[in-house]
């Protein structure tokens, strides 16, 4: 998964037109996020070449998260042609993430 931040978000997410981008907002303190991470990495392999996977460490970049209207973990946003098309937050399961991906392929 690509490490995203305020500097490369434009380039990696906003300007990505060849495939949807899944953005995983996480932090080490978020147990739910840490439990999901290995499964999200599995999904990344499964959707290789079809979906781009990135993650943002919310602890490092709180203000940037605010600017993306994220104030809760875990949050997963899906971008298509640079636009946010869907988001799930808090009661997140790996099935819900995959569902969101499939809906937007």
């Amino acid at each position: 998964m690509i490490e995203l931040n305020a500097q490369n978000f434009e380039q990696e997410v906003k300007n990505e037109t060849s495939m949807p981008v899944l953005v995983d907002f996480w932090s080490e303190k978020c147990e739910k996020c840490m439990a999901l991470m290995p499964e999200v990495e599995e999904l990344e392999k499964k959707y290789e070449g079809k979906v781009k996977f990135g993650k943002i460490d919310a602890q490092k970049d709180r203000r940037f998260c605010w600017s993306l209207k994220v104030m809760s973990l875990p949050t997963f946003q899906l971008y298509k042609n640079g636009e946010k098309v869907e988001e799930i937050t808090q009661d997140v399961t790996i099935d819900k993430i995959e569902e969101m991906i499939n809906k937007n392929l």
């Binding site: 739910k32 209207k69 104030m71 809760s72 973990l73 937050t89 808090q90």
Partner: protein
């Protein structure tokens, strides 16, 4: 992997992990299924000061990580899978997850409980946009901001006090005339300059543009409404059992809490329930762990009586 397990445990909170420890030590072939994070609710709080033996900076994540380690050391296997349905009717029980079907001689139901949504206007809309149900997950976002905590019970005060490490101010609102939290937490809240407590008051509405900007409070006595600017709303206003999957399969009360006897047996032979999901009056880590132990030992006994070689 055996085709037939001795014990299938649904949920890896304190109840399921404790059951895993006891089942493992009894040399039962045991799986523990968990759909979210291992440790359950208890892994989401920095509290846990009241669990016996948890002295010196105990935290939920630390203690539950140890419970997991302990269960695995005795042979219980963790499965990060969501149980989607169960068939408890026959002598051999079936547990169907998002990844496969497992058969067992016994099943221990330990799905715990999850927070209640209040159902007030703005709550759903602003979930993840200022409304939160997990202080340890989200506290960082509210650094130097003002937040309100809904619920004056143990969780509300404990999580409210945790939030004071980050927030500018923490207002705890309780609908009842008095707080319900234990006295020690009430004392700490009263002595913390960042905490303000408002009783006999309900949060009626959450408002904002893209993110939470304010709440409307209603005084339950006078009916008077006031506005309060806040950026965060943390909800700790009660729990409901996660037992929808088992409705109609085992006996429950009207709220969905599972009925068991003192051996943690449900009305279905070979099926046990432990922890926050069952009818009882003190829902804590210590009682969940106790339930898990009893359920596992009862399961062991059930197996020796019903599956003699």
């Amino acid at each position: 992997m055996p085709d037939l397990y001795d014990c299938l445990i649904i949920g890896a909170g304190p109840a399921g992990l404790s059951a895993g420890i006891y089942a493992g030590r009894a040399r039962l072939n045991t799986l523990v299924f968990e759909k979210k994070q291992i440790g359950g609710q208890a892994s989401l709080t920095w509290g846990l000061e009241n669990y016996p033996g948890s002295v010196e900076d105990p935290t939920g994540p630390k203690i539950t990580a140890r419970m997991r380690e302990q269960a695995e050391a005795f042979g219980a296997i963790m499965k990060h899978e969501e149980v989607k349905s169960v068939d408890l009717s026959g002598k051999i029980k079936k547990v169907i997850t998002n990844k496969g079907t497992y058969e067992g001689k016994t099943v221990i139901l330990a799905p715990g409980a999850s927070h209640i949504r209040l159902g007030i206007p703005g709550e759903e809309e602003f979930t993840g946009k200022g409304v939160s149900y997990c202080a340890t997950c989200d506290a960082d976002f509210f650094t130097d901001l003002d937040v309100i905590v809904i619920g004056g019970g143990d969780s509300g005060l404990q999580e409210g006090l945790y939030l004071t490490k980050y927030c500018n101010s923490v207002t705890i609102v309780e609908m009842l005339p008095e707080l319900r939290a234990s006295k020690i937490l009430q004392e700490r809240a009263a002595n913390n300059p960042k905490v303000k407590i408002i009783t006999h008051t309900a949060v009626e509405k959450i408002e904002g543009q893209d993110l939470v900007e304010k709440v409307i409070l209603k005084n339950m006595e006078t009916g008077e409404r006031t506005e309060m600017p806040v950026q965060g709303v943390f909800v700790f206003a009660g729990m409901k059992p996660d037992t929808d999957l088992f409705k109609g399969l085992v006996d429950m009360d009207q709220k969905g809490y599972i009925k068991v006897d003192e051996y943690m047996r449900t009305n279905v032979p070979g099926v046990f329930a432990a922890g926050d999901c069952r009818i009882k009056w003190l829902r804590q880590v210590v009682t969940a762990a106790a339930d898990g132990a009893q359920a596992a030992v009862a399961a062991e006994q059930y197996i020796s009586e019903n599956f003699a070689e």
